[in-house]
């Protein structure tokens, strides 16, 4: 019910919304929770395990009960805490975990079976038969218990990530945080003040105290006005600091778009990484409930929440409110209610020396031991020294004391410290380097203490930053002492709830202790206390107090479970912002991309690159037709293929040749200017790392090519070799992969084609196989390399990338005039398998030079990286799996990459495997399926028949072992 004249809501701005399809009205400034309470809606959800009716418990992000689904369709957002969700026009909220409806939830029969369903029930019951767990038990249990669900549709919402840097991050904008930000802001520090609420002020908005003679909320507004006027202060509302990481890095979730209908272009959430030199934690404190029988009935709330609804939102959650507590703070709730004209039916204080009041009855030394009502609170049972009595009430405000919000101080592995005077854990100083706790999160509960600690923490941070605080006048505010006595669980029969979110009772925790799950971490896993979205914010301390009691230890010895990030739930979409769909990985396009797509070439991903798979022509209905045609085209006339994706590294300097000798197994210092050489590179452990050709353009200038897949790794390796291993060499290099477009022109008519576009024709004398040099291409300075990956007379022509598109189109036009055309990755692959050329399918990291028949390429005239290690006997053993070719000889003609090789008579089981297939393809030239494979002692076994078995695809093929080079083994064509 609304209370006239109270609250910070805008009563001139009504807002209509719906809950479970029923329309309600609230005001601008309401949360969904405050608006529901104003409309007298008490039942808002069903509990996770027993489907018990539940109401709103808190007024903040720690809410365990009021979890709702907001919106529908792809934008459906489950498990939203109604206490955090701001009200907006047209908001649609739905309750969760009930069927068919919230009021009549048939699944609540599980509550009747509760005596059997205590902690450990599932572990003990569904043990046999083993296979049933995954197939039957778990799915059924999961369906019965649960939270909200996603739509299953693709999420169209936008999320962003952002970075910020500052001198001082202030976490929380209550009295301590505001004071800290003000002191630091006035001193000129670069300050970020972050608060999870939509409105800054923290508890000042929820209390009636005065600060410097004005209401707390008004003082907060004055401070915020001053902060807004400072260029060196940034205010972040709706921003939860969810984790403290190394070196002053903090993760912050900003809820940008949840407080209104979806806006075009704006992100829903932004995930920030804030790097700061100093941080002040002013996160406040969370009130803890008291466990007693049926303390989960809708209408039973924390006392601080009742006060917040009254003072901030002008809502009384009840007409006859009772208060139950063990501390002075609970009395404030009763006083505030009376002052606002709400009837307080009684205050039950467990302390015998509790203060009394003229405005309401105080039951000293009494406890609430039960509640009654159907889906909402109607009465409570009080146990006093003289007996039990019932009291009619529709709202019970309970307080078991306050827990400082220590979470962030524990994110770097430290534990909080127990303080007996306030019966709570407080941060251990120095837990997170550079972060200081101030105010209620540090166990200082009065407003004056919060303001003072905020100012002091800021002063210290400023000193650390080398800045001087000026004009600190800590305002005058209440400084009431906070006294309490222990009260965790009221003794009695029946279920007293500790963890509302996971339906964990006092009995469950005791049972865990009985069954020897005495460690707090074991108790947590056994009972599920402290799991799910609230992570035990409301229940941890009480649960471990019960555990301490049950195990005869003190609370400090029992200890806490580990607080880990995030502080409150974060959507995976926010963490992965920018990486959805096409944003997952960058796309690299070649300069020929557009022309290839115009020719309807399907693109395939090669690392980050997109390369044409094949170029279909009129009448071709499958890729094999195109591939076979392209292979024949290259073998018979001429083909053009974009090979720009290969890594290109420009290497220059007086010691460039010596450097290449160091990183390649073979000699490059002997390479003549104007010539190209194939090179093999090893890792330090002696295995093959990469291969490619390197051209010598001058005495001190080389251009190295790497494989497409290995380009990044090779560059990194060269950086290391040059900077760390051989800093004595005068050599520089840089990747020019993207600066040059490079095209293979391959086939018997390749020279004829090039003569048509080069400024001067090629001669046999100047351009033998492996020649390289500068050429003019239609007046543009380019480079030409007579190298071949197809076994044909071939060239690679390079031109600055800005001319790549036009050169590619020109090459295609010329090729087509000669009966040739473009070719793609499929035919490129067939052409190289026919020639036994390797790719990373073969040099996959476990292959030595010996395995690919290149051991003689490891020069004995010089040293190189990996040389000594490559000479280990085990890496040169004939029984190693070595590269061979395969040719099907039986009825089955298919070969598959990844299949294993066996002796014909052997069982195809792992121990008998003698090798495996790495590359396969149909050769239109040889007219059979060919493969490259690694086979034990392979080169000595040419002519043998072996068995290829693909267990995954169920294929078995008899093959003849053949040399890897099946086409033109003498290499006559490439030199022709």
């Amino acid at each position: 019910m609304r209370i006239a004249g109270k609250g910070l809501i805008d009563r001139s701005a009504p807002v209509s919304f719906a809950f479970d399809g029923i329309g309600y009205s609230g005001f601008e400034g309401d949360t969904l929770a405050s608006a529901l309470l104003a409309n007298d809606v008490r039942l808002v959800g069903r509990s996770f395990k027993y489907h018990r009716p539940r109401g709103i418990l808190t007024a903040g992000s720690e809410e365990p009960n009021a979890l709702m689904t907001i919106g529908s369709g792809a934008a459906q957002d489950p498990n939203v805490r109604a206490t955090v969700q701001e009200l907006y026009e047209g908001l649609q909220a739905r309750s969760q975990n009930r069927w068919p409806s919230l009021g009549l939830d048939l699944m609540s029969v599980t509550d009747l079976a509760a005596p059997f369903l205590g902690a450990g029930f599932y572990y003990k019951t569904f043990m046999w038969p083993r296979a049933f767990w995954e197939k039957l038990y778990e799915p059924v249990i999961r369906r019965a218990a649960g939270l909200g669900s996603l739509s299953g549709e693709n999420n169209a919402d936008k999320y962003e990530r952002a970075y910020a840097f500052c001198d001082l991050l202030v976490i929380g904008a209550g009295p301590a945080g505001l004071m800290a930000a003000l002191v630091a802001g006035r001193a000129g520090a670069d300050v970020v003040l972050a608060d999870e609420d939509s409105r800054m002020g923290g508890r000042l908005l929820a209390e009636t105290y005065k600060v410097d003679g004005v209401p707390g909320a008004a003082w907060a507004e004055q401070v915020l006005d001053e902060l807004r006027g400072m260029d060196n202060v940034r205010l972040m509302t709706r921003s939860t600091v969810i984790g403290a990481y190394d070196q002053g890095t903090y993760g912050v979730l900003e809820r940008v778009g949840h407080h209104g209908p979806r806006a075009d272009g704006a992100p829903l959430e932004t995930f920030w990484r804030i790097s700061t030199k100093r941080a002040i934690l002013a996160a406040g404190a969370l009130e803890r409930p008291v466990a007693f029988q049926n303390n989960d009935r809708p209408g039973i709330m924390t006392a601080g929440a009742v006060r917040a609804y009254l003072n901030r939102w002008g809502v009384s959650p009840g007409r006859a409110v009772t208060v139950f507590g063990n501390n002075d703070d609970a009395h404030r709730t009763a006083h505030d209610l009376v002052a606002a004209g709400v009837h307080v039916a009684g205050l039950i204080d467990s302390r015998h020396d509790a203060p009394t009041s003229d405005d309401f009855t105080v039951y000293r030394g009494a406890q609430v031991c039960g509640s009654a009502g159907r889906q909402r609170l109607e009465s409570i049972t009080i146990r006093t020294t003289i007996g039990e009595e019932n009291l009619k009430t529709d709202c019970l405000a309970m307080s078991g004391g306050w827990n400082p919000t220590v979470h962030l101080t524990c994110h770097m592995n430290d534990r909080p410290t127990w303080r007996d005077d306030i019966l709570s854990f407080v941060p251990t100083p120095g837990s997170v380097p550079g972060m200081t706790a101030a105010g209620a999160c540090n166990g200082a509960f009065s407003t004056a203490a919060c303001l003072n600690e905020g100012a002091q923490a800021a002063k210290q941070a400023l000193a650390d930053l080398g800045l001087k605080a000026k004009g600190i006048d800590v305002p005058v505010a209440e400084d009431t002492p906070y006294t309490l006595e222990p009260l965790w669980a009221v003794p009695g029969k029946g279920r007293a709830w500790l963890d509302f979110q996971n339906d964990v009772t006092v009995k469950d925790v005791k049972q865990a202790a009985t069954e020897n799950f005495r460690s707090v971490e074991h108790m947590k896993r056994y009972t599920t206390q402290g799991m799910a979205t609230d992570q035990g914010k409301n229940s941890n301390v009480a649960a471990l107090a019960v555990l301490a009691d049950a195990t005869g230890r003190g609370i400090p010895e029992t200890g806490t479970t580990t607080f880990r990030p995030p502080y409150s739930p974060v959507a995976i979409a926010a963490l992965g912002a920018g990486a959805q769909g096409a944003g997952f990985a960058p796309k690299r396009y070649m300069t020929s991309h557009k022309a290839s797509v115009e020719r309807k070439a399907p693109m395939i991903e090669v690392g980050l690159w997109y390369r044409p798979s094949y170029f279909p022509t009129e009448g071709e209905t499958n890729w094999r037709q195109s591939c076979d045609r392209e292979v024949n085209m290259v073998r018979n006339s001429v083909g053009v293929c974009d090979v720009s994706t290969l890594g290109k590294i420009d290497i220059q300097g007086p010691d460039a040749a010596e450097f290449l000798d160091y990183v390649y197994t073979n000699m490059f210092s002997t390479l003549k200017i104007g010539r190209t050489r194939y090179g093999l590179m090893l890792r330090e452990d002696g295995y093959v790392m990469d291969d490619g050709t390197t051209a010598r353009l001058s005495e001190t200038h080389f251009v190295m090519t790497t494989t497409t897949a290995g380009a990044g790794e090779v560059m990194r390796h060269l950086d290391f070799a040059q900077q760390v291993l051989r800093p004595d060499l005068d050599v520089s290099f840089i990747s020019v992969t993207e600066q040059w477009a490079q095209f293979a022109v391959a086939g018997p008519k390749s020279r004829e084609l090039l003569d048509g576009i080069l400024d001067s024709p090629l001669t046999t004398k100047d351009w033998p196989f492996m020649a390289c040099g500068d050429v003019g291409i239609q007046g543009i300075a380019g480079r030409l390399f007579r190298i071949s990956f197809s076994g044909e007379h071939a060239y690679e022509i390079a031109i600055p990338a800005r001319y790549g598109d036009s050169l590619f189109r020109l090459l295609l036009a010329k090729a087509e005039a000669l009966g040739g055309g473009p070719y793609g990755m499929e035919s490129l692959n067939i052409l190289r398998i026919e020639k036994g050329f390797i790719t990373h399918a073969e040099i996959h990291g476990r292959i030595t030079a010996f395995d690919i028949g290149m051991e003689r390429m490891v020069s004995d005239k010089k040293d190189c990286i990996g040389k000594t290690m490559s000479e280990r006997p085990g890496l040169n053993d004939n029984n190693r799996e070595q590269m061979v070719g395969l040719k099907p000889v039986g009825a089955v003609k298919q070969l598959t990459a990844g299949a294993f090789l066996f002796e014909n008579d052997d069982d195809p089981v792992r121990v008998n495997a003698q090798g495996y297939v790495t590359s396969v393809g149909f050769s239109p030239t040889m007219e059979y399926f060919m493969g490259l494979a690694f086979l034990q002692n392979g080169p000595a076994r040419y002519g043998e028949t072996i068995k290829m078995v693909d267990h995954l695809r169920g294929i078995q093929t008899l093959c003849e072992v053949v040399p890897p080079v099946v086409f033109d083994p003498t290499g006559g064509r490439v030199r022709g």
Partner: protein, 87 residues
């Protein structure tokens, strides 16, 4: 989520770097013919709990190989210098 103070680029996010392993290993002389020292260099690593000297490559920045002191227990970052000429 550590930050590394690159001597060339200044304080940068960990995402810009790749890890390059233990920087305490010493590469044998090129003409070392025994495999023993090479096996130590390539394969044998301590696994210290506490301060550790390691290589990082500023691959998304200046491309310099760096030598960084990092505490494997606390993630505390100490000195960061260019690896060039140190090893």
């Amino acid at each position: 989520m550590i930050r590394i103070n690159c001597p060339v680029c200044g304080s940068r996010d960990e995402n810009e770097f790749t890890y390059g392993g233990d920087a305490n290993v010493v590469r044998p002389a090129m003409d070392e013919a025994e495999t023993g020292p090479w096996l130590d260099y390539v394969f044998m690593r301590d696994n210290p709990r506490g301060p550790h000297r390691e290589y990082w490559h500023h691959v998304m920045g200046c491309r310099q190989w760096l030598m960084l002191e990092r505490d494997t227990l606390t993630h505390e970052i100490g000195d960061c210098i260019l690896a060039r000429g140190v090893a």
